[in-house]
């Protein structure tokens, strides 16, 4: 497509003097770098599916998905995955209950109320929060949040939280998700055309009404996408639940009790010495597969929502 033209050559021969094999090789090399992503996905699927298939050869899928007893390490073994799925969902639910309002209100403040200078200071601070290693957040959950909860726990809520409990992990994960929700929602709200705001102001709307009835609905799909991403992050989070939520498979949404999340199960079992190929070893992959399918589904949803919201104003 590129032609180096020399005087005296007719237009029909406006081609590169060589076949430019080097250029083609480079393109191939760069393409191979991009193709690694496809290889990675394939490798993930194969590495999860292979051992999972041999696992499901011995344990029926129905027993796995709907069983309410999870004790792969004890005899008699039981492989009902529900307790650890519910453990993950419980931490996610309580964490989101904390993170969604805080994240969205922060986003509204940053996008609609904060002066540019304040915003320039606050946004990086929130990003610092997003960049703190999860092992530090897990430590915080165990050494600060749990004792603080036990200290202030009001009697009418029942028993005070266990030393390992879902609530402390959920609050710490919430803290981890707040910057994700705040920053993506803020982007969505900032990209709402200012004409919409000005129109509303001209009609006599107050600042709060503009933020809540005009900007918020206009940015809704971006906001929902940020929440979906937050859920996916909470479901996949390992260190915090490992350090603060415990290792007791427990079919309950009660946040004060010790539970076990799917990720924590994988980490604990994978760290221990188990012989390759045993049924217990294969549980890692079966649980990993459940986790992968859950986060993949949510991510697809989030991509679709973001794409939809992009179409509105471009």
């Amino acid at each position: 497509m590129l032609a180096s033209s020399r005087p005296g050559i007719s237009p029909s021969r406006l081609e590169a003097p060589s076949r430019r094999l080097g250029e083609k090789a480079i393109q191939g090399l760069l393409g191979a770098c991009a193709a690694i992503s496809v290889v990675t996905t394939t490798a993930i699927v194969i590495s999860l599916l292979g051992p999972s298939l041999s696992f499901f050869g011995e344990v029926s899928i129905a027993d796995f998905l709907f069983g309410t007893e999870w004790s792969p390490a004890l005899r008699p073994q039981s492989f009902g995955v529900l307790p650890i799925v519910v453990g993950t969902l419980s931490v996610t639910f309580w964490g989101l209950l904390f993170a969604v309002p805080i994240g969205l209100l922060s986003a509204i403040y940053l996008s609609e109320y904060a002066r540019p200078r304040v915003r320039r200071t606050l946004k990086p601070l929130l990003e610092v929060l997003a960049g703190i290693p999860t092992v530090a957040i897990g430590f915080f959950a165990f050494s600060f949040v749990t004792p603080a909860l036990q200290e202030v726990w009001p009697g009418f809520l029942g028993d005070e939280p266990n030393i390992f409990n879902a609530l402390a992990a959920a609050l710490a994960i919430g803290l981890l998700i707040v910057p994700i929700i705040a920053s993506i929602s803020e982007d969505a709200m900032s990209s709402v055309p200012s004409g919409l705001r000005e129109g509303a102001y001209a009609m006599g709307a107050t600042r709060m009404k503009v933020a809540l009835r005009v900007v918020f609905p206009a940015a809704l799909s971006g906001i929902v996408a940020s929440i979906v991403l937050g859920v996916s992050r909470a479901v996949g989070e390992t260190m915090v639940v490992l350090m603060a939520a415990g290792a007791t498979p427990n079919l309950t949404f009660n946040p004060v009790e010790s539970i076990e999340a799917m990720t924590a199960y994988i980490a604990i079992t994978g760290t221990g010495d188990i012989a390759t190929g045993t049924l217990e070893y294969n549980t890692i992959f079966a649980v990993g597969l459940v986790l992968f399918v859950m986060t993949l589904g949510m991510n697809m949803l989030s991509i679709r929502l973001v794409r939809k919201y992009r179409e509105v104003y471009e």
Binding site: I108, A211, T263, L296
Partner: protein, 310 residues
């Protein structure tokens, strides 16, 4: 138009505007109150998030400050908590992360250049690559640990529990971040620069190599910094890759068998559930946050240098 008329008209206009403005600003009291409460709520939310950050840092400093000292950098793990430090873990992190940088820089930038400069969106395989990258960015890190365990430590590559296996796994983990950020940097380079270079007879690759890449480097660096910071703090996948075993020797090469990294060592000390070790873990968190800060500052300095050159 005489001055008298102008002043008369101006006065009229100002009076009119003022009366309209007065009418508008006289909002119902309930609205004013609601607005105030709402703003208070917003500030409260931001305050809660920032308080969380401050409490987290304060908690680590209070718990580990007493244990913090230079010996954390000069001592290795030990069965005596009073004599244990993080030297082997810090060196382990440096070896692992060094490997991640070596792998993810060329692959990440290469993929970004391909997708931005060569790939036509009409081809299904290019769209497949894009969807893959978006999805990989959201795969939980522990799943990468499973991949590393099944494919790199055992299985096809069969490297064993060595530093290199951790580097490769973390590379796959951070690649999507590097690619997405690099693509944005490459896309931000104005087309006129490409067209100018092509018009002068440069080939496609010469244009990319000498014009696009130098212009995009600062942005690419930002993405790489973010990705590397994430890799430094990552511990969950490494638990599956043998980093959790107790070692007391410093790693010496990418093929060292038996290594640990800073966040994994923090978790290990924490998991012993003894007062002394928990204190040590908190001190380790301070070390980790300092290391992260130092590396980020270095990277920002590096980025500024590149920016000046351009």
């Amino acid at each position: 138009m005489s001055d008298a008329i102008r002043t008369e008209r101006t006065r009229l206009a100002v009076a009119g505007a003022r009366s309209v403005a007065l009418g508008l600003s006289r909002q119902p009291r309930a609205d004013v109150a609601k607005g105030g409460v709402f703003l208070a709520l917003l500030l409260l939310a931001v305050g809660v998030a920032l308080t969380g950050l401050v409490l987290l840092l304060a908690d680590a400093i209070v718990d580990g400050g007493g244990r913090f000292g230079i010996d954390l950098f000069t001592e290795k793990a030990s069965s005596l908590p009073s004599r244990a430090g993080f030297q082997d873990a810090i060196l382990g992190t440096l070896w692992v992360i060094g490997g991640v940088i070596v792998f993810c820089l060329p692959i990440g930038i290469g993929a970004a250049l391909y997708l931005e400069e060569y790939a036509s969106k009409e081809r299904w395989w290019n769209r497949l690559v894009e969807v893959n990258i978006q999805n990989l960015a959201a795969v939980p890190s522990i799943v990468y640990g499973i991949l590393g365990l099944a494919f790199i430590v055992r299985g096809p590559l069969d490297l064993g529990f060595i530093v290199l296996a951790a580097s490769l796994t973390l590379t796959l983990l951070v690649l999507p971040t590097v690619i997405i950020a690099s693509r944005e940097a490459v896309r931000a380079v104005p087309d006129s620069i490409r067209q100018g270079s092509l018009a002068l007879g440069a080939t496609r690759w010469q244009t990319i190599r000498h014009q696009v890449l130098p212009a995009a480097i600062p942005g690419v660096m930002t993405g790489v910094i973010l990705a590397i910071s994430r890799a430094i703090g990552e511990s969950a996948p490494l638990l599956l890759l043998g980093a959790a075993t107790f070692v007391t020797a410093n790693p010496t090469s990418p093929f060292t068998d038996g290594y640990t990294t800073l966040p994994v060592q923090i978790y290990n000390f924490f998991a012993r559930a003894q007062e002394d070790y928990i204190q040590l873990a908190a001190a380790g968190i301070i070390v980790m946050l300092i290391v992260l800060l130092a590396m980020n500052s270095f990277a920002i300095w590096l980025r500024n240098r590149y920016e000046q050159r351009w």
